[in-house]
Subunit: 468 residues, 2 copies
Amino acid sequence: MIMLRICICFFVASLGGHALATQAEKQAVDLIAYGDYVLTMQADEQLIEDGAVAVSQGVIVGVGLATEIDNRYTAAKKLDGVNKVLMPGLVNGHTHSSMVLFRGMADDLPLMTWLQEYIFPMEGRYVDQALVEAGTRLACWEMIRGGVTSFVDMYFYPDTIANVAVDCGLRAVVAAPMIDFPSPGFKGWDDSFAAGVAFAEKWKGKHHRITPALAPHAPYTVSKSHLDAAFTAARRLEIPVSIHVAEDRAEVDVVQEKYGTSSIELLAGLGTLKQSTIAAHVVWPTDADIAKLVGSQAGVIHNPTSNMKTGAGFAPVPKMLAAGVNVGLGTDGAASNNDLDLWQEMRLAALMHKGNSNDPTLISAMQALDMATRMGARAAGLGDKVGVLQIGRQADMIQVSLESPRFDPLYNIMSHLVYVAKSGDVVTNVVAGQVLMEKGDVATVNIGSVRADIREISEKIKTDLGNR
Amino acid sequence: MIMLRICICFFVASLGGHALATQAEKQAVDLIAYGDYVLTMQADEQLIEDGAVAVSQGVIVGVGLATEIDNRYTAAKKLDGVNKVLMPGLVNGHTHSSMVLFRGMADDLPLMTWLQEYIFPMEGRYVDQALVEAGTRLACWEMIRGGVTSFVDMYFYPDTIANVAVDCGLRAVVAAPMIDFPSPGFKGWDDSFAAGVAFAEKWKGKHHRITPALAPHAPYTVSKSHLDAAFTAARRLEIPVSIHVAEDRAEVDVVQEKYGTSSIELLAGLGTLKQSTIAAHVVWPTDADIAKLVGSQAGVIHNPTSNMKTGAGFAPVPKMLAAGVNVGLGTDGAASNNDLDLWQEMRLAALMHKGNSNDPTLISAMQALDMATRMGARAAGLGDKVGVLQIGRQADMIQVSLESPRFDPLYNIMSHLVYVAKSGDVVTNVVAGQVLMEKGDVATVNIGSVRADIREISEKIKTDLGNR
C-alpha cells in the first residue's frame, strides 16, 4: 500500500513536469496543522477536504491540500488531522471573564433581585485584583478548552485581565470599565475614566495579542457628556470602545425618556459609529437603528443564552444580518449563562430565531459559524487579524474531533459543527501559532492551582450567602 | 489517619448503644451507588450530601446517607461517588431513534421542502428493518452515553426497536406507528393499524423493560374514526398511546377547519384523555385545551430544540406547569435536533421561555430537572416505575461527574446540572440495576460494528442525494 502511494506520487509529479521538492528545498515553517476537513471561512474554497495550514512566526503562510502543503513546507511540529476539522478559532465577542466566580450563585430570579441582592453586593464585597486574576485564569482555561482563541473582556482590573491573557496565550480585547456610579475600586466616573485611559495608554502597542479598549458601561449608566469623553479618548488612542447597547426594554425606556432618542441614535449623534465600536446585546434596535449600523464601524455582539436567561429577549439578528450589519457572538459573563461555551451560542443563535419567527430558514448553520469566526472577528474589531484561515492572517485555529459516534453519519460538516459539536469535541487550540491545547490538554493554565484559588474565594462568598 | 477513623467509628457506634453491623449481619444487595450529592427528586429529602442508593434485583431498596447505607448493606458491586451527583436517569419522552440516520442530511429549509424533498423520500427509499436496527442501536449508544435511561419511541419496525432496547438494556415505551397514508411497510391505515395492534399484543407483558404502545401519527394525518379505533384498542390492551398534538399552526388550522375544534378538544371528545396518552409537542394549545389536560391521564412532552429548529414555536410550558399539567422533555428525532441530548433540552427549556416572555423567573433549574426525571416519567406513563430515587422504584439512575473546572465554583448543584452539565459529564448509567455504562464506557452496544452499519447505509443515502 505504501509502495503504491509512492508510485502514484512519483507519477503525478512527473506528469506535472516538476520533480518533487526534496526535504532540503522545502521551506521550513514552525507548524503544520492538518484536517480531514479544513473550514477556511474564506469566500472561495470555504471547505478543503484533506487540507492543511502552514504557520511561520505566528502567521499563516500556506493553506491548501495536505499534499500541496507537505510538498512545499517542512515543520518540526505537526498537528495530525485524522478525523478532525481544522477551522478558525472562535471569537467570544462579549464576556466578563472573572464573573465565573459568580457562576450559579443565583438564577431564575427577577432581574432587579438578581442584580441588587446578589451580583452588585457580591461584586462590591469580593471583586479585587486576586478575584479577577483567579477568575480570568479559570475563564481562560474554559475558553481555551472550548475552542475560543479571542475574547473581548469588560471588567474591573483590566491590567490583571490583560496580564492573564498574555500568560494563557489567548488574544484579547481588554476594555476598561467606566461608569457614573461607584464600582469596585472607583468612586464614580472621573476616577474610572482616568484609570481606563491610563490602562489603554499603557497597553497600546505593548503586546501583539492584546488590544486595549475603553468600556463606558451603557447609555443608561453613563451620561451623554461622559459617553462623548470616552469615545473621544478612544478616537485619539485609535482603540475600540466596548459598550452594552439596548440590552432590555427598561434601558430603551430610560434612554428614550432622558434623551428622546434610542441608544443607537444617541451614539450615532455623538459620531461614535464612525469609529470602532463593539456593541454588546442590541436586543431592541429599531429599524432606523439597524439602518444606522449598516456600513458603520460598529459591530454587534449577540448573546443568545444571556439574553434568554435574563429575559432580555430575542435580538433581531436575522434582520441585522440581512441588512449587512456585522454580528458576532458572545457568552456574556458566566453569572448569566452559566458557562463560556461558544458552541452553545452558535447552536442557540441558529435555533432561537427560527422558533421566534416560526421560520426554519432563518440563521443557517453557515451563518452561525460565520458569526463565531469571520464576522465575529470583524464585529470585535479583529477582522484584519483573525477569523479566516488565509495567508497573512494570524494563526488562530482549532481542531474539532469527529471521533464521537454523535457525529454519525456525516452528510454536512457545517451542520454537524453547529447542531452536534460540543465544546468538549475541540481537541487543539492554537493562537498566533502557539499551541495552547493539544489532545484536549490545556498547556498554558495551571488549573490545579487556579481551582484552589477559586475554592478559597468562593468559600467566603458561600459563607456570606449562608449568613443572610 | 486510618487508625484515627477506626477509633472514631468505634466511639460513635458505642455511643449509639449499638454494635456496628458486622459483614455477616448486613443485607447483601446487588449494587450500591454513591454520590457526593444524591438528587433523589423526592418531595422531601430532595438532595442528600454524601449519600447512596442500594439496589437488589433491579429495585431500589435503600436511599440515604452513605454511612447509613454502608452500615445496613453489603454489595459485590459498588459505584464510587467521589465528585459525582447520583440522580434518576433521564426520560426522553419523544423520539424517533433511528432517524439518527438522517442527522444533518438537510437543515435550515422551509418545513415542506425539508419534509417533501428530503425526509419523506429518503424514508420511503431507505427505511427498512436493517436501517431501524442500526439506527436504534446508534441512538441507544448516544442516549446511554448521555444519561437517558428511558425513551419513548415512535417509528417503523417497532418489533426491531423493542428488541434493540432489550439488547442495549434501556427501558422503552415503543409505540407502533399508524397513519392514513402509505408509509414504510404499509399501504395505509388498515395494515398499519393491524400490525400495530399485533405488535402490542405480542409485547404486552413480554419484557419488564418494554411497554408497547400505539402511535396514531397526529389528528391531522389520522381520521377521527381511526383515532377512535386506535385509542379504543389501547384501552382494551391497557397500554399508552403516543401521538403528535398541536405541533404547529398549520396542524391547528387543518384540524379546526375539518372538525371545528382544536386537536385536544377532538381527543377529549373521543374520551382519550381518560386513558394514558403521551402527547408530543403541544405547542399551540388554547387555554381551554390546557384546562382539559389538567387532571387527565395525558402527559405533554415538550421538545425545545425541535420546536425551535422546525419553526413550530414556543409551547406555553410555564402556563401548563402552573396549571398542573405533567410535562416531560423529548429530543424528537435527530433529523430535527440534531442529537439525542436531554441536557440540551433541559437547558433550553429553562432558557427559551424566559426569553420568550421576558421573564427570567419562568422555568427554574429545578423545574427543568423535574421535567427530565420525575414529571417526565409521569408524562411518559412510567411514573410508578422510575423518575425518583425512592425505595420500591426501579433502579434507573445515573452519575454525573463534577470533575471539569466548568463546574467551579459550586454554589448550587441544581443550577449546575441544568446550566453547566453536558451529556459528556455523565459517567455512569444504570437501568433496572444493570450497569449499562461505567466511567463513560457504554458496555451494551458494540459501537464499532454499529458505526460500520451506519456508514454502509448512509453512503447509499449520500450517493442518492448527490445524484439529484
